[in-house]
């Protein structure tokens, strides 16, 4: 089995996204390796994952040399490099500009390359079809109930972590305490502090 993004042999685990088989590395790069760690945003955001996914799929340096490409959309000026970094087309003309180069490839990965949906202004006459009794397999599974802690462990400890962090000079505090503080701040719903601590951690990691 080969990864459909990088072409590498799949030795370990794989992920299938939108019909595309991805190796572990590519899945990680596309941030789809562990969807359970990713935050869902049903109520407040429209599908951020899709945007990131495109971003990743479009960044296939093995197929195309973005650095040397001179291709630019004649109407909006979107370059291949820009397309790669932003994952966004700039205008309708981009579809013509990049038609033969990368779109074909990407759209193939989007499932099939032909549009078969409804035409503008028409209504899709959707019929409600009976759901066949193909049935999910009755789970022959072990029941496991995780007991819930009676006491709230964070109540005292997190407050003391927060007090320490709030007043301290952060450069004197080690990473693990900053991280603990970030979690404690989120627990205590002090999101402003949590965000600042997250940024602090991020800049430390980038600095290294």
């Amino acid at each position: 089995m080969r990864c459909q993004r990088c072409g590498g042999l799949i030795t370990n685990s794989f992920t299938r996204i939108n019909g595309t088989l991805l190796c572990e590395n590519c899945a990680r790069e596309l941030k789809v390796d562990d969807m359970f760690k990713r935050q869902a945003t049903f109520f407040e955001q429209a599908f951020p994952m899709l945007g990131e996914l495109t971003n990743g799929i479009m960044g296939t340096p093995s197929d195309l040399d973005f650095g040397n490409s001179k291709i630019k959309c004649p109407r909006c000026g979107t370059s291949l490099r820009e397309l790669d970094s932003k994952g966004m087309l700039g205008c309708i003309e981009c579809y013509n500009t990049y038609n033969e180069t990368i779109l074909k490839n990407i759209l193939k990965k989007q499932g099939s390359s032909d549009y078969i949906g409804r035409k503008p202004g028409e209504i899709a006459n959707i019929e409600v079809s009976e759901i066949p009794e193909e049935a999910s397999p009755a789970p022959s599974v072990k029941v496991e109930v995780t007991p819930v802690n009676d006491s709230k462990p964070e109540s005292n400890s997190s407050i003391s972590v927060l007090d320490k962090i709030k007043d301290a000079d952060w450069s004197t505090i080690p990473d693990n305490e900053i991280e603990a503080g970030m979690k404690a701040a989120a627990q205590a719903e002090d999101y402003q502090l949590a965000a600042k601590l997250r940024d602090e951690l991020k800049s430390r990691k980038e600095g290294n």
Binding site: F36, I116, P120
Partner: protein, 340 residues
């Protein structure tokens, strides 16, 4: 609010969302638009919307109260509602229906319905999409379908998202892999609703999202969604039943603890509250509890009202320190039945 109406299968399905995106010919996509392009698009969409009675607001003219109000409807992201950019929002008189203008796509139609009803959510969004297609020059190609700056949505431009509560599956060893395989088979994606710091304590709430927009008809998309959701409901119910039979004492204990705690607590953080609500969900239909007053309406009300609201997200405003206290107060009054 959209979630106040009764819905199908709300023991498992919290809500269904359909988003349809469209772009207007004659303008570049949003990232390449000038300010005057944006103004023109706002004006055109506003005009088309007013023909069918949609109210229009500009996000750059909203005050804080109005921002919170719009955000809490669940139709738009904080980045839009707080954005300094020239975004517009059209709000329908139908609960749960709105249109966002100039955010990634020129037009994003959002339709939210309570419970399990993909077709209804789709129809409401389609009605607006068809209106815009008839009254504006919408970017479309026979080859690619409806054009969008994002390759991931070119084609039908239709995406379905269903929010499900699956404590039974989560607590049953081996059940989650069964579910993810099934979702994979349909080429959908699944996301967990996580905490603000990105950590995943069990909250039992997930969204499943359609991915494919090209090479698929609207009918196929909706058929697939209905089948997948039916599978999830079936699997979750059988897991709940199983757990309640095999671990009766533990579930009873947790169910009653959750009930008592929610009824009297004075501070409630988001994830604790969600964990307790999940226990109520798990036991509600499968353990005996004649001596207390808990209904699916109450459980769904709790789920929808405890979720994060505008105050939890806005970064530049003062942190509201008494949020857990406020939330506890809200929970207590729902449990008492003061909020119908």
């Amino acid at each position: 609010m959209w979630y106040d109406a009764p819905g199908n299968n709300t023991d498992v399905v919290i809500g269904t969302k359909v988003v349809i995106t469209r772009n207007i010919k004659g303008f570049p996509f949003v990232t390449k638009m000038t300010d005057s392009d944006k103004e023109n698009v706002l004006g055109m969409v506003r005009q088309a919307g007013s023909q069918i009675g949609l109210d229009f607001v500009r996000t750059d003219e909203l005050d804080d109260v109005a921002r919170a109000d719009i955000f809490n409807k669940g139709l738009v992201a904080t980045s839009v509602v707080n954005g300094e950019d020239k975004y517009g929002i059209l709000i329908s008189k139908k609960e749960g229906v709105g249109v966002i203008v100039n955010s990634i796509d020129h037009i994003s139609i959002v339709s939210l319905v309570p419970g399990d009803d993909v077709l209804l959510a789709y129809k409401r969004a389609e009605e607006l999409a068809v209106h815009f297609e008839k009254n504006m020059d919408i970017a479309f190609s026979d080859k690619y379908g409806f054009l969008s700056p994002r390759i991931s949505t070119v084609g039908t431009g239709v995406r379905v998202s269903v929010c499900v509560a699956i404590p039974g599956i989560e607590k049953t060893t081996g059940a989650l892999p069964i579910l993810t395989k099934r979702i994979e088979k349909y080429d959908w994606a699944m996301n967990a609703i996580a905490n603000v710091d990105g950590s995943m304590r069990e909250t039992s709430h997930y969204t499943i999202n359609s991915v494919t927009t090209l090479g698929i008809t609207e009918q196929e998309l909706i058929d697939g969604a209905n089948r997948l959701v039916a599978d999830i409901i079936k699997l979750e119910r059988s897991c709940r039943k199983n757990i309640c039979a095999k671990k009766k004492v533990i579930v009873e204990d947790q169910f009653y603890r959750a009930y008592a705690t929610l009824k009297y607590l004075r501070r409630a953080d988001f994830s604790d509250a969600m964990t307790m609500i999940a226990w109520l969900r798990l036991g509600q239909d499968y353990i005996k509890h004649d001596d207390i007053d808990i209904t699916w309406e109450k459980i769904n009300k709790l789920t929808n009202m405890v979720r994060k609201n505008y105050d939890d997200y806005s970064r530049d405003r003062k942190v509201i320190n008494n949020r857990p206290t406020q939330r506890a107060e809200l929970i207590r009054s729902i449990m008492k039945g003061d909020i119908a």
